[in-house]
């Protein structure tokens, strides 16, 4: 199976009655392994909500979600422990680094691997490889608060990659970075997608990043549509 993410007739409605907010109403799309897909839409259109549903954090109202060859949602969660799905399949990157403040850099990155039962040596080795790649190897034993924002974000990306997930969900990962750094990060995500055969969905507001992506998904009229890259530029 080529698809890493598949969504069918996905609906998300917040609240009931008067205060009802329909965010997504019938989304259908797929993301293949090795693809870096940009997700664009105005603020408040439901990008984060969509990512969180794919990440099994937010419960959809109805529809179907497949992750890899596993159907995880079909009008209800088909798995009991949604954190396990994240642990096994998904790497999250947020706009803010969201590092655990009481763990140092390498502990932040290895926490999940160690929890999954990977030996400390192997987890550390993998983390150091990522740090070298991200040019933060000398910060491995620093506390997050001792790093700059850009460095923290690179740690956060390393954390998302450390467990070698099949899927990376990145919610505005470059919003806090300058242009050069942003381009670096997106290129890196593309490289990872290709080299490790990972499906990456990246929410972005930065049009300069779009040419670096394979495809664009746009939320429009509460549905998800495909956009050609050149049409946007």
């Amino acid at each position: 199976m080529d698809n890493s993410i598949k969504v069918e007739n996905l609906v998300k409605i917040f609240g009931k009655g008067e205060t009802k907010v329909e965010v997504i109403n019938g989304a259908n799309f797929e993301v293949k392994k090795g693809e870096l897909v940009a997700l664009i839409a105005p603020s408040g259109a439901g990008k984060t909500t969509l990512l969180m549903m794919i990440g099994c954090v937010e419960t959809p109202t109805s529809g179907k979600i497949y992750l890899g060859d596993e159907k995880v949602y079909d009008n209800k969660w088909l798995i009991k422990d949604t954190t396990k799905i994240r642990r096994d399949k998904i790497g999250f990157i947020f706009q803010a680094p969201n590092l655990v403040p009481f763990l140092n850099v390498i502990e932040n990155v290895t926490l999940l691997s160690v929890t999954k039962g990977i030996s400390k040596e192997n987890a550390n080795k993998k983390a150091m490889e990522l740090f070298t790649y991200f040019d933060i190897a000398e910060k491995a034993n620093f506390m997050p608060s001792e790093l700059s924002g850009g460095q923290q974000q690179r740690v956060a990306i390393a954390r998302a990659l450390a467990t070698e997930p099949e899927i990376i969900l990145a919610d505005e990962p470059t919003a806090a970075l300058d242009k050069t750094r942003s381009i670096d990060v997106v290129k890196m995500l593309k490289k990872i997608a290709v080299e490790q055969n990972v499906a990456v969905i990246m929410v972005t507001h930065d049009e300069d990043m779009l040419p670096l992506c394979d495809r664009i998904l746009q939320i429009k009229d509460k549905k998800v549509i495909n956009k050609k890259i050149d049409k946007i530029i």
């Binding site: 937010e58 642990r87 969201n98």
Partner: protein, 381 residues
């Protein structure tokens, strides 16, 4: 990697201050329980020091402490005829305003036959000097009165010499105890408390021979005799009220609990409840403060069990540290109090269990709330 350890290390100062603060609160509670225990202990000091088998008092009276009792001193000789009676002694008890160096204090005068068979002075408490060995003008006082051996004290028109000093001797109200001979005590009682008789005498009216009356006769039994049985015989034969040592201790603790410890006791209970709630709230807030970190961990896929473990471990460590510092705190200050504070390890352990259970409960409520929250909202994504 142990998350609790990492988190504590990261916020060590705050964690230790919280533990110490909770510890001091526990310390205050321990002191308060100690005050309560001290009052009950103090109430029994005199009765425990005399430690007879039986207390013979006036008919229909709950004396000698709960109710006043008058009984003839010669009864101590007649009681000897009862089977099983080994030793007997007559005592008077009276509370008077007793002079200290610069002021007066309420003191309990214990009058006893200084050549008698049962001395009321516990040799373990006699820290300086000796027992009284003259039938007049010698007294034994307690160290809190700040007299020295050889000091002269004027009571009425007589001068008394301090021959012994005891430690920790108080009556059920916490007043210091002064020991003197039965005849001296009678003289003081007569002059302090009987202005009417004094007036009568001054006017030439002959008073009752009050000096022959005492408050109680205590009895020690020969080996092998049961207190209850001998008590029954004495009751029947002499028409007096007789209490066993066990009864007397029970009356005293009940009396003191009803009189003043009840107040302290209720206050202690309220203090325990209030501190437990405060400690629970502290732990609860501590847990909620970790909302964001927990949300991040949940988002990246850390299992709930690991998060719950972290919080519970921190709670237990905090509880243990607080318990230790609370005990240190209470032991540092307990002897600075004017009255006896009895710190009991057993109380501390029970309090520890109560506080730990409350802490774990409140952290569980906190954890429940934190775990339930939508992680996406918690991190503000």
């Amino acid at each position: 990697m142990n998350l609790a350890y990492k988190d504590i290390k990261h916020t060590l100062g705050k964690f230790l201050i919280t533990a110490m603060g909770v510890g001091m609160l526990l310390g205050v509670v321990l002191i308060m329980i100690g005050v309560y225990r001290g009052m009950i202990y103090d109430a029994k000091v005199l009765v425990n020091d005399i430690n007879p088998d039986l207390w013979v008092v006036q008919e229909d009276k709950m004396g000698p402490f709960a109710e006043s009792s008058k009984i003839h001193r010669d009864l101590k000789n007649y009681l000897k005829s009862v089977e099983g009676v080994d030793k007997t002694a007559a005592y008077t008890f009276q509370t008077i305003e007793f002079p200290l160096k610069t002021k007066f204090t309420k003191a309990m005068i214990v009058g006893y036959d200084v050549f008698g068979e049962i001395t009321p002075i516990n040799p373990k408490r006699l820290i300086k000097g000796r027992n009284i060995n003259k039938s007049h003008y010698e007294i034994v006082v307690t160290d809190k009165m700040r007299y020295k051996i050889g000091d002269k004290i004027k009571l009425l028109n007589d001068i008394y010499t301090v021959v012994g000093i005891t430690h920790g001797t108080v009556d059920s109200g916490g007043n210091p105890i002064v020991y003197m001979s039965l005849s001296d005590a009678n003289k003081i009682q007569f002059n302090y408390t009987n202005p009417r008789i004094r007036n009568d005498r001054a006017r030439g009216i002959k008073a009752n021979r009050d000096s022959d009356l005492v408050n109680t006769i205590v009895v020690k039994l020969k080996k092998g005799y049961l207190s209850d049985l001998v008590a029954k015989n004495i009751k029947k034969e002499f028409n007096k009220n007789v209490f066993t040592q066990k009864d007397e201790l029970f009356f005293l603790s009940r009396h003191v609990i009803e009189k003043s410890s009840k107040q302290i006791g209720s206050f202690t209970v309220i203090l325990i409840i209030v501190s437990t709630i405060i400690i629970g709230l502290i732990i609860y807030t501590m847990t909620l403060e970790k909302m964001k970190e927990i949300a991040i961990m949940k988002l990246i896929g850390i299992p709930n069990s690991k998060i719950v473990n972290m919080i519970l471990q921190e709670t237990v460590v905090l509880g243990v540290l607080a318990f230790i510092s609370g005990n240190i705190f209470s032991h540092l200050i307990y002897n600075k109090f004017p009255k006896r504070v009895l710190l009991d390890l057993n109380d501390a352990e029970i309090l520890f269990v109560i506080v730990l259970v409350a802490s774990i409960l409140s952290s569980l409520i906190g954890i429940y709330k934190v775990i339930k929250v939508n992680p996406q909202e918690a991190i503000g994504g």
